[in-house]
């Protein structure tokens, strides 16, 4: 492992992706909980006119200049979205859709105007939106570390306020918090994180980095603190893991590998996270179903016993029991379950009868049903 990380490229890429994962995992948790999952997608489209204008004004393709342009446009887009949502009946998703497509359209128009200039230096301007994770530079990582640490520090300082406006904004306002200001601050942090990621690792990876770690982390815990920590952790794991994988296997692009690692984390979390996981849910449902089925067979057996004056020695054919349920349920499995619980017993080949405990249980159930009727 240490040999692996001795390589400069892997070290830079893994460090950068890990940092980005940590920051966007933490900030993304808030975004996801506040239904802003698609903000990353929107900002990355909205950055295009910012990049075009920054280039028009400075005639420079320096990353800092373009990043500032992108950040400004992204921030304006976010404000536009917030304005539309608070001042009209258009919901968040609609506002995002409008703002992202209109900003991008504006960017397109600006690019066509730029294309007309007899100036070869504007080439590939829009490729700045598609940064590549494998081409991270030491300076990028340094910038990410500084800005990321700043963003996390703000998050830590305003933690309880951010938490309150996310779960119950009106109550926040009622106790006197400046909700709009806090809202803008939290969203701005996210914009910063997204824009850094944008030109280094690209649009799609950034969209995934914001949502996926949070979505995975949410399944494992019901507390905000652990969730944010876990999301940051997932972000790091996927970032570093994807980087390592893409440096072991040739022609495995780093960004998509990280996205797929994140998606895998989400999938696994959805399936097996304790309490919420789908696998557990299915297991519980199956258990419940088996219990209900066994109870039904138990009652059937009791009904048959009644026909024989509650003679518990008299065995009944499994086929009869199956016929009573019209093949709807697995009678054999239910009988075996009852036998295991000592409620029924096998009296002969394919014949079954209730035990004394089974009879008591059946009576109990009938009483219970009577109470509810």
């Amino acid at each position: 492992m240490t040999a692996l990380f001795a390589d400069h490229t892997l070290r830079v890429v893994a460090l950068g992706a890990g940092l980005l994962g940590a920051v966007s995992g933490a900030l993304g948790s808030f975004a996801m909980l506040r239904r802003q999952s698609l903000l990353g997608d929107a900002i990355s489209h909205a950055a295009l006119p910012g990049i075009a204008v920054a280039f028009m004004l400075t005639r420079s393709k320096a990353p800092v200049v373009l990043m500032l342009g992108a950040a400004l446009a992204g921030w304006l887009a976010t404000l536009a979205v917030m304005t539309i949502v608070t001042r009209s009946r258009i919901k968040y998703d609609g506002a995002l859709g409008i703002v992202l497509s209109v900003f991008f359209g504006l960017g397109l128009v600006l690019l066509t105007l730029l294309q007309k200039r007899p100036d070869a230096s504007q080439a590939g301007l829009d490729r700045y939106l598609f940064g590549q994770a494998a081409a991270l530079l030491v300076d990028d990582v340094r910038a990410m570390a500084i800005i990321g640490a700043g963003a996390l520090a703000v998050l830590a300082v305003l933690w309880k306020e951010f938490k309150l406006i996310s779960v119950d904004a009106d109550f926040g306002a009622a106790i006197g918090l400046p909700v709009r200001l806090l809202d803008t601050a939290l969203t701005s942090l996210l914009v910063i994180a997204i824009v850094i990621g944008l030109q280094t690792v690209g649009v799609v990876l950034m969209s995934a980095m914001v949502v996926a770690p949070a979505a995975a982390a949410r399944q494992w815990t019901n507390r905000l603190g652990p969730m944010v920590a876990l999301a940051a952790g997932f972000g790091v794991v996927a970032g570093v893991g994807g980087a390592v994988l893409s440096s072991i296997v040739a022609r495995l692009p780093t960004g998509p590998t990280i996205v797929l690692a994140l998606s895998g984390l989400v999938l696994v979390s959805l399936l097996i996270a304790p309490a919420r996981g789908l696998a557990w849910r299915a297991l519980r449902r199956g258990q419940h179903r088996r219990t209900v089925e066994a109870d039904a067979v138990l009652l059937d057996l009791y009904a048959l016993a009644l026909q024989h004056e509650e003679d518990l020695e008299h065995g009944h054919d499994e086929a009869v029991l199956r016929a009573m349920r019209g093949g709807q349920i697995n009678v054999r499995r239910s009988l075996e379950k009852l036998a295991q619980a000592g409620l029924a017993r096998r009296t002969g080949h394919g014949r079954w009868a209730l035990s004394a405990a089974g009879r008591a249980r059946a009576l109990e159930q009938i009483d219970h049903a009577g109470e509810h009727a």
Partner: protein
């Protein structure tokens, strides 16, 4: 109804638009009346459209004063990322003949040109003038070819012949002139090719390696015996992996390659990342300069023409690679 909508724009601010509108109607009439080049009057120049600056340059050279060439893509425009504007409709409508690169370089536009050809409008794909057996196929997909044929000057001669043939056919009145200019241009290309070979030979054989960000120089490499290594594929959607960067960095270090090159249409960061990786391996590689890959340079500069661009690229490459041991050296 559409006309009604158009008239809405005839207010004070819309008068320019209205003028444009009238011009457009005029053009439309002209197009329906005189669609093919045969009907161009004796004193008029044949209106031609070219997609990339490279194609436009070739058509200008051979068409000379008899053809007016409009290039859809300006200097520096990566054909993969070209965005047409409204004026391109009129430019296309006006054209008696369209020259494009083809082999899917222009993406969806290629299909449009093919369909136009089926309807009898002359559209000429220059890269497809290169015989199939001389084309490079893309990574195992038969029938899908690398479109960047122009950096093999020998192959570009096929394109030049194609242009003079096509012009002669569609504008027979100037056929002699086109053939004559074509012949002379071919001579210039011959001279260019000889010069390129001479210059390349000055680079020590083991250093004849061209490292760039993307795979546009495969034909160039094959023609002049230069090994070409790129970080990205042709597709703008493709992405490099960390292993690709490491591999290329190892290669540069092992071969003691002194310089890498930046392309005008690809952000520099890819090459910079590579340089950092190489540096960490104890070798210093310089960035040898900017190469023009899919588009020519600024019109006023020497790199504004195809021949000038090839010279620029070759001089840049030779200068950087043959530097004794100044830029690239072990630390």
């Amino acid at each position: 109804m559409i006309f009604g909508a158009a008239n809405l724009f005839s207010g004070p601010a819309g008068s320019a638009a209205l003028r444009g509108w009238r011009a457009a109607v005029g053009v439309a009439v002209a197009v329906t009346v005189g669609c093919s080049g045969d009907e161009v009057g004796p004193t008029e120049r044949l209106p031609a459209v070219a997609t990339t600056t490279i194609v436009a340059d070739l058509v200008r050279e051979i068409g000379g004063p008899d053809v007016s060439v409009v290039s859809l893509m300006g200097p520096g425009i990566d054909p993969h990322l070209f965005k047409p504007s409204e004026g391109d409709i009129a430019r296309m409508s006006r054209a008696a003949i369209v020259f494009y690169s083809g082999l899917h370089l222009e993406g969806k536009m290629t299909e449009v040109f093919e369909r136009m050809r089926q309807l009898g409008r002359p559209t000429v794909p220059l890269a497809e003038c290169v015989p199939v057996d001389k084309r490079l196929t893309a990574a195992g997909f038969s029938g899908v070819y690398d479109p960047h044929v122009w950096f093999d000057v020998g192959l570009w001669k096929h394109a030049a012949s194609c242009v003079s043939e096509a012009l002669s056919e569609h504008d027979p009145r100037h056929a002699d002139a086109y053939r004559e200019r074509g012949r002379r241009y071919l001579e210039r290309l011959d001279a260019l090719e000889a010069a390129v070979r001479r210059r390349i030979e000055q680079v020590p054989a083991q250093r004849r390696v061209l490292v760039t960000a993307h795979d546009a120089f495969a034909y160039f490499g094959r023609a002049y015996g230069i090994e070409v290594r790129g970080l990205l594929g042709v597709s703008t959607a493709a992405e490099a992996g960390a292993a690709d960067v490491q591999e290329l960095a190892d290669f540069i270090t092992e071969r003691r390659i002194p310089a890498m090159f930046v392309e005008s249409s690809v952000p520099e960061r890819y090459v910079q990342a590579l340089r950092e990786a190489v540096e960490s391996r104890g070798w210093q590689v310089s960035i040898g300069g900017t190469l023009f890959s899919d588009a020519l340079g600024d019109p006023q500069t020497p790199a504004g023409s195809y021949i000038g661009t090839v010279r620029h690229n070759v001089e840049t490459i030779v200068a950087a690679l043959s530097e004794p041991s100044g830029a690239g050296h072990e630390r």
